[in-house]
C-alpha cells in the first residue's frame, strides 16, 4: 500500500500506459479552457452586478435591443466542442476502445470479476485458455477451470494479483461471474465495466515497470471497497522468469 500511495498525489496520478498521455492531454486542455471561460465570465458578471446595482434616480433600461455578441458564448462553446469532438475525442476513443491489438502481438489474459475480487487466467506455455464451466467453480478452483481440457493443464490462475510484461500490449477478455464490476487501473487511465454474460475486450500497454492498483469502479455490493488487486508490471525478462515460477492450476504434483 505504501508503495502504491506514491503513485497518487493532488493531481492526476502517475501515467503508466500508452493511452494515459492522450487522456491526460484532454483532461488538462478542458480544465484550462474551463478555467479561462469561467474567469472571463465571472469578470463580466461582477462588472454587471456593480455597474447596474440599484442607484437612486436611475431607472432600468428596458430597451429590448438584441445584442449579437450575446451569442458569442454559444458560438465559442460550440466551436470548442466541435473541435474537441473531431480532433480529439473521436480519434482517441477509437484508438482506445474500438481498435484492438491482435491476439498474436499481445499478452493475452482472461479476467473474471466476482464479489469481491479479481481472478486472472494466464494461458500458460500453449497460449491457449482452458475451458471453464460454472458447475466446476469451488474454493480451490475459483475460475471453474475444466481439468479434462488439455488446454487447461498449464493455465495459471492468479487471484487479486495481476502481472504484466512491458513492451507489448495486454489484451484482456473481461467478464464477471455475478454482478457488474468495473476494471479500473487509474495509473493506466483505463476503465471498463465487467458485465456478467458478456466478454468484453480491453487493451492497454504499460510503459513503466512498477506496482499499480486495480480497483472496482462500479458498486458491486457490501465488499465494493475492498475489491482490489495489485498490478505488477515487469520488464519482459523478469516477467518470463516470474511466469516460470508459477504453478499451473492443475499441476502434476497435486
Amino acid at each position: 500500500m505504501e508503495k502504491l500511495i506514491n503513485n497518487y498525489g493532488w493531481g492526476l496520478p502517475v501515467a503508466a500506459s500508452t493511452v494515459a498521455g492522450g487522456i491526460d492531454f484532454g483532461i488538462r486542455i478542458i480544465h484550462v479552457a474551463m478555467f479561462v471561460i469561467f474567469i472571463l465570465w465571472a469578470i463580466f458578471f461582477t462588472y454587471l452586478l456593480i455597474r447596474y446595482r440599484r442607484m437612486d434616480g436611475v431607472k432600468a433600461d428596458a430597451s429590448h435591443g438584441r445584442l449579437i455578441w450575446s451569442l458569442a458564448p454559444d458560438v465559442v462553446v460550440l466551436i470548442f466542442e466541435i473541435s474537441l469532438i473531431v480532433l480529439y475525442a473521436i480519434p482517441a476513443w477509437s484508438r482506445i476502445k474500438i481498435k484492438f491489438p491482435t491476439p498474436d502481438e499481445s499478452h493475452n489474459l482472461e479476467i473474471v470479476a466476482e464479489q469481491f475480487g479479481w481472478i486472472i487466467q494466464y494461458p500458460g506455455a500453449d497460449a491457449k485458455f482452458g475451458r471453464r464451466s460454472p458447475a466446476l467453480v469451488n474454493a480451490s478452483n475459483p475460475m471453474g477451470l475444466d481439468p479434462e481440457d488439455p488446454a487447461a493443464k498449464d493455465d495459471v490462475i492468479g487471484v487479486n494479483e495481476l502481472h504484466l510484461p512491458l513492451g507489448k500490449p495486454t489484451l484482456v477478455q473481461l467478464t464477471s461471474k455475478d454482478v457488474i464490476h468495473s476494471f479500473f487501473i487509474p495509473e493506466f487511465r483505463i476503465k471498463q465495466d465487467a458485465v456478467p454474460g458478456m466478454k468484453i475486450p480491453v487493451w492497454f500497454e504499460p510503459t513503466k515497470a512498477g506496482q499499480y492498483e486495480l480497483g472496482c469502479a462500479q458498486l458491486c455490493g457490501v465488499g465494493h471497497a475492498i475489491m482490489r488487486a495489485d498490478v505488477f508490471v515487469h520488464e519482459a525478462a523478469d516477467y518470463d522468469a516470474w511466469m516460470t515460477r508459477q504453478r499451473p492450476q492443475f499441476s502434476p504434483q497435486e
Binding site: P103, E110, V112, F129, P134, K177, G197, M198, K199, P201
Partner: protein, 120 residues
C-alpha cells in the same frame, strides 16, 4: 362537441361496421400468413405491417383521430419520435454488442476475436 354529433349518425355507424369488417379480414389474414411459416425476419415484417394497418384503422375511425386537432397530432408525433429513439438506439447497441455476449464458461476468448484488429 364532436364531429360525430353534427354529421349523419347512420353514416358514422356504417363506417364503424366497415372498419369492423376490415379488422376481421386482417385478423384472418395475419393468422393465415403465420401458417406460411415465413422466416423470422420476413414474418416479423409482414405481421407488424398488418398490425400497424389494423391499429391505424382503430385509431383513425374508432378513436376519431381522422380530423382530430393539430395539437393532438403534434403530441402523438412527438411521442412517436421518442418511441423511434427508444426502439432504435438500444436495439442498435444490443445487436452491436451481441458478439460480446457469452455466458460464463462459454466459448473462450480466442474463439471470438475482438471486433477490429487494426493496431498501431
Amino acid at each position: 362537441m364532436n364531429t360525430a354529433a353534427s354529421t349523419n349518425h347512420s353514416a358514422q355507424i356504417k363506417s364503424y361496421l366497415m372498419v369492423f369488417g376490415a379488422l376481421l379480414v386482417l385478423t384472418v389474414a395475419t393468422v393465415t400468413a403465420s401458417y406460411l411459416r415465413l422466416p423470422a425476419v420476413l414474418g416479423l415484417m409482414v405481421g407488424l405491417a398488418i398490425a400497424t394497418v389494423k391499429a391505424s384503422l382503430v385509431a383513425a375511425f374508432f378513436m376519431h383521430l381522422k380530423g382530430e386537432r393539430l395539437l393532438i397530432y403534434g403530441l402523438l408525433g412527438l411521442t412517436f419520435l421518442f418511441v423511434v429513439f427508444l426502439f432504435t438506439l438500444p436495439m442498435i447497441d444490443m445487436s452491436a454488442i451481441g458478439i460480446n455476449r457469452m455466458p460464463y464458461g462459454g466459448a473462450n476468448a480466442m474463439a471470438a476475436p475482438p471486433p477490429a484488429t487494426a493496431h498501431h
